[in-house]
């Protein structure tokens, strides 16, 4: 298939168009995220904020936690977790933005959906950090399981559900040219 044929097919096929725009937008978002200036001035302070918020909630609930930038530590037993890049929820927020960009909607609808979606993802991410802080003190193998599998998958599913709910929230179709695909 030539380049022009592929582009024509992508423009006509909604699924392919979605995939192409989604991948391009996500790649651009990740490229911006790893720019050293962005990492230093936006990502790292954001992660520190996430650690501070998690520590504050733990203390509010009667727990013990000391926060030092991106590290949450229990002074009673020395256990500590460090929130690394990739545990901030920003990656799923970028994927959500790419998904909303690839789906036909107005910029206003996308902005509203993204803000609400990011709040949902970040809320769940705070729960993830707090739960990992406690699970890690209980069992190393359970911590690995929750850290490597359970929470990553849950956050990803959260992102997908947010995207679907946003699609549901969008105004009804004027025309539905792709309905035949659903048949």
């Amino acid at each position: 298939m030539s380049h022009s044929t592929f582009i024509q097919r992508s423009v006509r096929s909604p699924s392919l168009r979605f995939l192409v725009i989604f991948c391009a937008a996500a790649l651009l978002g990740f490229a911006v995220e790893v720019i050293p200036w962005v990492d230093e001035h936006l990502v790292k302070p954001f992660i520190a904020g996430l650690a501070w918020m998690s520590g504050m909630l733990i203390r509010l609930a009667g727990g013990v936690a000391e926060v030092s930038y991106d590290i949450i530590r229990n002074p009673l037993n020395g256990f500590a977790i460090k929130i690394a890049n990739g545990c901030s929820g920003l990656e799923v927020a970028i994927l959500l933005a790419a998904g909303m960009l690839a789906f036909p909607a107005s910029w206003h609808q996308r902005a509203l959906g993204w803000i609400a979606g990011v709040m949902a993802i970040m809320s769940l991410n705070v729960v993830r950090v707090i739960s990992l802080y406690y699970i890690g003190q209980y069992s190393r193998s359970w911590f690995d399981w929750a850290h490597l599998y359970a929470w990553d998958v849950l956050i990803m599913i959260d992102g997908m559900v947010v995207l679907f709910l946003w699609i549901r929230w969008l105004p009804p179709y004027q025309r539905l040219p792709d309905a035949r695909l659903a048949a």
Binding site: L19, V34, D152, M156, I167, L170, P172, A182
Partner: protein
């Protein structure tokens, strides 16, 4: 167009979670993950040495299930000359291949030709995760050859020894860091979803259509 059940999305979500639980349990506790790692190591031993030339000669399995990657790069000041090696820890490998149960659950929750999709999806994911492991190896090799830490991942630091090799240009060093970031943080999560979209376009479209409030 057949009538779409209004609660199709809810049904799909419940099915997804119902499938995820036993699949991840089997993946973690019944040793499915180790079995997939064995397949990937075998494929890696065939595919990666020609791709990396001197960078990868052989992938060996350690007692703790981590991988020891033997390179063709000679360490400096070694007499007799020694080939450099690097290690990939098992938890790291498990993280890279974490998406298999998610892909299977997504495919099982979406109606269609299950067996065909499961086979194709698994094969595609094996290929993508092998690419992910290759991306990680490339970043390890560039860090080792240039003898400087990755700018994008503070955990990627050079070993104590140096190797006799021409350093990579700066742009390639940065590119390998970005590829590493994508393959380690993004690929494990997004590839099952992308493969699901690719293999079940009608199922996904049906799902999207069913969740819209009014359809003309």
């Amino acid at each position: 167009m057949p009538a779409l059940p209004r609660d199709l999305f809810r049904l799909w979500l419940i099915l997804l979670i119902v499938w995820l639980v036993p699949l991840y349990a089997a993946w973690w506790w019944l040793g499915w993950a180790e079995w997939v790692l064995r397949v990937l190591r075998g494929l890696g031993n065939i595919a990666l040495p020609p791709v990396f030339n001197q960078g990868v000669s052989e992938i060996l399995l350690q007692a703790d299930q981590s991988w020891k990657v033997r390179t063709g790069l000679v360490t400096e000041n070694s007499n007799p000359s020694e080939m450099a090696v690097f290690f990939i820890e098992k938890p790291f490998l498990l993280h890279i291949i974490m998406g298999f149960p998610l892909l299977w659950a997504l495919l099982l929750a979406t109606p269609g030709h299950l067996l065909k999709r499961l086979i194709w999806g698994t094969l595609l994911l094996v290929a993508l995760y092998l690419l992910g492991i290759a991306g990680h190896m490339w970043a390890m090799i560039t860090v080792m050859v240039n003898h400087q830490p990755s700018v994008m991942d503070e955990t990627l630091v050079p070993p104590l020894f140096r190797v006799s090799a021409v350093p990579y240009p700066l742009w390639m060093f940065h590119l390998s860091g970005f590829v590493h970031y994508l393959t380690v943080l993004i690929l494990p999560l997004i590839s099952p979803v992308l493969i699901w979209l690719l293999l079940c376009p009608r199922g996904v479209m049906r799902l999207v259509v069913s969740i819209r409030r009014r359809i003309r």
